[in-house]
């Protein structure tokens, strides 16, 4: 893995000695850490596979640090709390409490899912970030959208037009094998747009993802982020799902 500096936060798993297991669980990082808490598998904050400053100048180190250590960590913490409340409610047979906690599970669980994907969608330029997709995914993009430029334009337009907070996705429909551009509001995961939808790429357009650097000019953030997009990861997911 990439060099660790003083600035990266160690996940709970490494401290507990379950590091190798966690790494083996895969870079997909849906709570790739396997923390054991109260006999249940708790979600943990996955490590970034690069340093906070490694995506500059597209995304500043300051943003990456806050985004990972504060925002994503908060989703993980609150998701675990919500799951505990759910367990308690289920075991007591308290149906109103079960239903009441669903919002927190969706918000925070969604936030954890989406950001875990996001960190893998980004890559430092030195390690291949920004290199366009080839072979299967490249052809599929050309077929569906005409060209990579057209896809980028479409995602940027939809991302810029999204009101409030949310995500813009390059999605693969597992059933039809077709690509599409989707948006979701707040922390709704892509699957809320269709049960067969698989995220190949997601771009966070919540203000916290860009404000310190780009202020209100979301279009500039969208323009620049393509310099660090990890098409290799997207290709791997695509090939796995269309095999």
């Amino acid at each position: 893995m990439a060099l660790r500096t003083l600035f990266t936060k160690k996940a709970l798993t490494r401290a507990s000695g379950l590091g190798p297991l966690a790494a083996a669980a895969g870079d997909r990082g849906l709570g790739s850490g396997l923390g054991q808490a109260r006999g249940r598998t708790a979600a943990t904050l996955p490590d970034l596979p690069y340093d906070y400053g490694a995506l500059e100048p597209a995304i500043s180190g300051e943003i990456m640090r806050l985004h990972h250590q504060k925002h994503h960590q908060a989703y993980v913490t609150n998701y675990n709390n919500a799951l505990e409340q759910l367990e308690a409610a289920v075991s007591k047979g308290d149906a109103p409490a079960v239903v009441r906690v669903q919002g927190a599970i969706k918000f925070n669980g969604g936030g954890h899912i989406n950001h875990s994907i996001f960190w893998n969608n980004l890559k430092p330029v030195k390690e291949g970030g920004g290199e366009p997709p080839h072979s299967a995914l490249g052809w599929a993009i050309d077929t569906e959208f005409g060209s990579l430029e057209a896809l980028v334009q479409k995602m940027n337009a939809e991302g810029a037009a999204l009101q409030g907070s949310g995500w813009v996705w390059l999605a693969l429909d597992k059933g039809s094998k077709k690509l599409s551009v989707e948006t979701t509001a707040n922390q709704d995961p892509l699957v809320t747009k269709g049960l067969h939808m698989v995220p190949l790429l997601g771009i966070d357009v919540w203000e916290h993802a860009y404000y310190l650097q780009y202020k209100n000019v979301r279009p500039d953030y969208l323009k620049n982020i393509w310099d660090v997009i990890n098409w290799k990861y997207a290709s791997e997911v695509y090939e796995k799902e269309t095999a």
């Binding site: 504060k70 925002h71 908060a74 918000f107 409030g164 203000e207 916290h208 404000y211 209100n216």
Partner: protein, 300 residues
């Protein structure tokens, strides 16, 4: 405040003093009698400045935040709104009306986000001031204690609303007069009692006037409102807002207006009810007369 410009086909512009908006729409509909035939009236809503300088809320809200929040975000909504409504039915309406009409009963039209955000931000800047904070008094404090139990409990509810508005949005203290006949929107809380203070939160640009509530206080919890000064720490921002920025005088004034408005509504409703009762009595009398008439003609 709106000022009106005429743009003739030749692109010549002239400014006129702002008359009542209804008169302008009327003139427009009548084919521009008083104006050159080619004139097209464009109502320009303006970006209102906050009632204090951009640096006077430091250190609680920085000048930089105001320069972006007011100078970029708020300004952009004004420009977008003007662009979208030019030449449409919404052109010439007051801002309140544009908000309610474009909300379209929960299926908002494109101008809504801009109209509502212009309204919301005007309201927000007025809600705070340098040297704000402290505690309210008089009728406002009485109502707070009646409807929340205590001032501190109200603050807790305000914070909770602000912190649990997930994503972008606003938290509101509103005065709610329960009316059964809500013209343009669906009232989401029909079961609550009349005339009380409640805490609300709303997503993105949504605004309680679309539910016919009277907002008294608002806090912007879009990330752009606090990120430069507080980063992710929304809780700190909300606390400072309440401790150092909120203008309880303005909230109090708004409450007075809201109570008066509710009283007037109640009076109007009562008058209408009485008129309806009288109308029913009259029509019964007419029907009796008509019945005997019909009998006569059949006899012929």
């Amino acid at each position: 405040m709106q000022h009106y410009t005429l743009s003739c086909c030749g692109g010549v512009k002239a400014s006129l003093p702002p008359p009542l908006s209804f008169r302008w729409s009327k003139i427009k509909r009548e084919g521009g009698r008083r104006l050159p035939r080619c004139a097209r009236i464009a109502a320009q809503l303006e970006l209102k400045p906050p009632p204090y300088s951009l640096s006077s809320l430091e250190p609680h809200m920085s000048r930089e935040t105001l320069e972006y929040h007011w100078g970029r975000h708020h300004r952009a909504h004004v420009a977008s709104l003007n662009n979208l409504i030019a030449g449409t039915d919404l052109d010439g309406m007051g801002l309140d009306e544009i908000v309610v009409v474009s909300y379209n009963k929960g299926n908002p039209l494109p101008p809504f986000v801009h109209a509502a955000q212009v309204w919301n931000h005007d309201f927000f800047w007025q809600s705070i001031k340098p040297g704000g904070g402290g505690r309210p008094s008089g009728r406002l404090m009485e109502l707070i204690e009646k409807d929340f139990g205590s001032f501190d409990r109200m603050l807790e509810e305000f914070k909770r609303a602000a912190l649990t508005q997930f994503g972008s949005g606003w938290a509101w203290l509103v005065y709610k007069a329960n009316r059964l006949d809500v013209g343009n929107a669906v009232n989401p809380r029909p079961s609550e009692k009349d005339n009380k203070l409640v805490m609300l939160k709303s997503p993105n640009a949504v605004n309680p006037i679309v539910w016919d509530y009277s907002p008294l206080l608002a806090i912007d919890v879009w990330e752009h409102a606090y990120y430069l000064d507080y980063e992710n720490r929304r809780a700190d921002y909300v606390s400072i807002f309440l401790e150092k920025l909120v203008s309880w005088e303005v909230v109090s004034d708004r409450l007075d207006v809201a109570i008066e408005r509710a009283a007037e509504r109640a009076r109007e409703a009562e008058t209408r009810k009485q008129e309806d009762d009288t109308a029913v009595t009259h029509s019964e009398a007419v029907e009796m007369y008509l019945d005997s008439d019909t009998d006569d003609s059949e006899a012929e």
